[in-house]
């Protein structure tokens, strides 16, 4: 279970999160919606442990353990996975090499055995096939020359391999055509389980047609302005965000 309590975050002199509270239960898919510039991506980065942000106050608890006491690597090993809005290109690092390094690093951190190469290859191939990730992509340097859709599939492939406790999807729908969106959403749905929570950050209802959320939260001005069920997303689609900006202010 993820509990974000009274989170205050700034970058330089700019305050971005202003006392944000949020709870996501095990097995729950929570959608975070809201207009541009309200701190949705900041929330995802701060949970994952990006170093540029200053956390003035608050806690982020994953199963009762404060993530803010951990560095980025430790959070990943504790089960946090951030699917990036803009996945980084890493020239010179073969995708397979990277996937193996990540899987083995997490296995080591949890005191598990590292995968043998044939088992690893099989695991990756199976997961890749389900997500329509071509074998050729796995041989290329990580994300280099990948299309927007390919990059997002690669993110979901990594999530499928790493099996996190908490999956954060930061605008995973951006830059995807409708077919790619369906494949990516199916990949996420296949990972839904009673032990795994998701934070799905999006501007649009469209993604939520494919990934049905249990709860919907509207973020405005650095905090949750309103929470509700899936019907809230539909309502937003009709009325827009203007009133929520007003509400938060």
């Amino acid at each position: 279970m993820l509990e974000v309590k009274n989170l205050h975050v700034s970058i330089g002199d700019r305050k971005i999160l202003d006392g944000l509270n949020l709870t996501v239960k095990n097995g729950e898919v929570a959608a975070i919606m809201g207009p541009n510039g309200t701190g949705k991506s900041t929330l995802s980065y701060v949970i994952a442990g990006r170093p540029d942000y200053e956390v003035a106050e608050g806690e982020i608890l994953l199963d009762g353990v404060n993530l803010l006491d951990m560095d980025t690597t430790e959070r990943a090993n504790a089960g946090v996975f951030l699917a990036f809005q803009y996945p980084l290109e890493i020239p010179g690092v073969a995708t397979m090499t990277f996937l193996k390094a990540a899987l083995n690093a997490q296995a080591r951190a949890r005191g598990q055995k590292e995968l043998q190469t044939p088992d690893f290859m099989k695991k990756v191939r199976d997961a890749a096939q389900k997500l329509g990730v071509k074998q050729d992509m796995l041989k290329r340097p990580l994300n280099v020359g990948f299309s927007g859709g390919e990059k997002k599939r690669m993110e979901i492939l990594q999530m499928a391999l790493l099996q996190p406790k908490l999956g954060i999807l930061d605008e995973t729908d951006s830059g995807l055509d409708i077919d790619a969106l369906r494949v990516v959403a199916e990949g996420v749905n296949a990972l839904r389980s009673k032990d795994r929570s998701f934070l799905v950050i999006t501007h649009y209802q469209r993604l939520l047609d494919y990934i049905k959320p249990d709860t919907v939260h509207v973020m405005a001005r650095g905090k949750i302005a309103r929470s509700g069920g899936p019907e809230l997303a539909l309502e937003l689609e009709k009325s827009g965000y203007a009133e929520f900006i007003g509400e938060a202010a």
Binding site: A48, G49, R50, P51, D71, T72, T73, R75, A76, N77, V80, F81, L82, F84, P87, L88, I90, P91, G92, V93, T97, F98, A101, A102, A105, Q106, A109, P141, Q158, L162
Partner: protein, 445 residues
């Protein structure tokens, strides 16, 4: 005010080098006139220093406090040499040609494996015999003739290997020139090798230096490479200066004929103080040359790559691609000069130097230069100095990689893009392993 070099005070090292020549002149075999002229030049200009433009960032005069004796210490055992040659660095896939403490050793070389079309002799034997081809080739076209270290090498060259590859010969196995120093105590070696590649021949060369036991060795090595028309030459050097206080200067003097391919790479990991200097001249049309290198430095190590590539003939292509990884207080130098002579129309030249700085006190000196005297050419250069990308590191850490491992992965990728220029797969794999070991040592601290 600049004082004429001849009247400034000589350093101890300069005096010792001049005295070493006087004392051993009778032992140095052959090419007396060449040696005497080179020594006279050295005596006049002394060791290179900050005031010599091409040595501005590597002040050898200040750095070389003591000139080590040329004679190797007696503690050396042949058994240790054998052990090293059999080791993982032994390049067992190659045909080994060995120089031990400045003397060519046919008894430790794989002469029985030499294929048809390759002839190997000792430089000092050739100098004594006074073969005009060798004497002319050794002076080459006067490239690097002004350079004090090249002059010192010409004056004091003890021995070396002369390789002749017959026209049209295609040599399958690489020829590995190994310069072995006994180490243990400081000593110097002056080695000059000459490789003449006949027209249309194809050959792969590697040149490495090693010490049986770590020591403040001083290696002054020169390779004269004469590449004939339509020849295809791959040449990989590993410059070695691994003991505390060790120094190495390696000079390549190369001339390239027409329609030839020349691919040269230099690996400089863990060097105390090392300089690789390249003087290359493209004399024939439509030739294609590529120079690459990778230096891995930490502590107070210092590696300098200085090259002058002269396009004399038209229609040639040259590429230079060098990378440095600099940790702690280490210093990297890249000085690349591409000269396009008036006749060298349609020259296509591109030079790139890139460095990653890991240490706050590391220094990278980049000095790319173009001197163009022809009007129809395409030439460019680029130099970048930067740090590891924080966003990339965050991405890798967000997948569970510890920071050190994330850094190593990125650095390995950076290094491998340079090592990819090495055509010999086995050698490339070895250097990739060496790079991994270097990075692992970094992570272990």
């Amino acid at each position: 005010m600049n004082l004429p070099a001849t009247i400034r005070t000589r350093t101890e090292a300069e005096t010792a080098l001049i005295e070493a020549f006087d004392a051993t002149e009778h032992l140095l075999r052959g090419a007396c006139d060449l040696r005497a002229a080179a020594m006279a030049h050295f005596s006049a200009i002394g060791l290179p220093n900050r005031r010599v433009e091409s040595w501005h960032y590597t002040d050898l005069r200040a750095m070389l406090r003591e000139a080590a004796p040329i004679r190797a210490p007696d503690s050396f055992t042949l058994a240790r040499a054998h052990e090293l040659l059999q080791g993982p660095g032994g390049q067992t896939h190659a045909i080994r040609l060995l120089v031990l403490n400045g003397a060519y050793r046919p008894d430790l070389s794989d002469l029985a494996d030499l294929p048809a079309g390759v002839a190997v002799t000792s430089l000092s034997d050739e100098l004594v015999a006074g073969d005009p081809e060798v004497l002319t080739a050794l002076v080459g076209e006067g490239q690097g003739g002004d350079d004090a270290v090249v002059a010192l090498n010409a004056a004091l060259m003890q021995d070396g290997i002369v390789v002749r590859v017959a026209p049209g010969a295609e040599i399958e196995r690489p020829l590995a020139l190994v310069n072995m120093m006994s180490g243990g105590a400081p000593h110097a070696a002056f080695v000059r090798s000459l490789v003449i590649v006949g027209a249309g021949a194809r050959v792969r060369l590697t040149e490495t230096t090693t010490a049986c036991t770590p020591a403040a060795t001083q290696a002054n090595e020169a390779m004269v490479l004469k590449i004939g028309d339509r020849a295809n030459v791959d040449y990989v050097t590993r410059v070695f200066a691994q003991g505390e206080g060790a120094i190495a200067v390696h000079s390549l003097l190369a001339t390239v004929g027409a329609d030839a391919h020349f691919n040269a790479f230099c690996f400089m990991p863990e060097v105390g103080l090392a300089r690789r200097q390249i003087f290359a001249r493209l004399n024939g049309r439509r030739s294609n040359v590529r120079f690459g290198g990778l230096s891995l430095l930490r502590g107070r190590q210092h590696a300098d790559t200085t090259l002058v590539v002269e396009h004399v003939a038209p229609d040639c292509t040259s590429r230079e691609f060098f990378r440095h990884i600099l940790d702690h207080e280490s210093t990297g130098v890249f000085q690349g000069k591409v000269v396009v002579r008036p006749n060298a129309q349609k020259t296509d030249g591109a030079m790139k130097s890139q460095a990653i700085m890991l240490g706050d006190d590391a220094v990278m000196n980049n000095k790319p230069e173009l001197e163009i005297f022809a009007d129809d050419v395409v030439c460019g250069h680029g130099a970048t100095v930067g740090q590891l990308d924080d966003d990339q590191i965050f991405y890798l850490q967000a997948r569970g990689l510890p920071r050190e491992e994330a850094e190593s992965l990125l650095l390995e990728a950076f290094a491998n893009e340079a090592l990819d220029l090495i055509a010999d797969e086995k050698l490339r794999a070895r250097f990739i392993d060496d790079t991994k070991a270097w990075l692992a040592q970094r992570g272990a601290k």
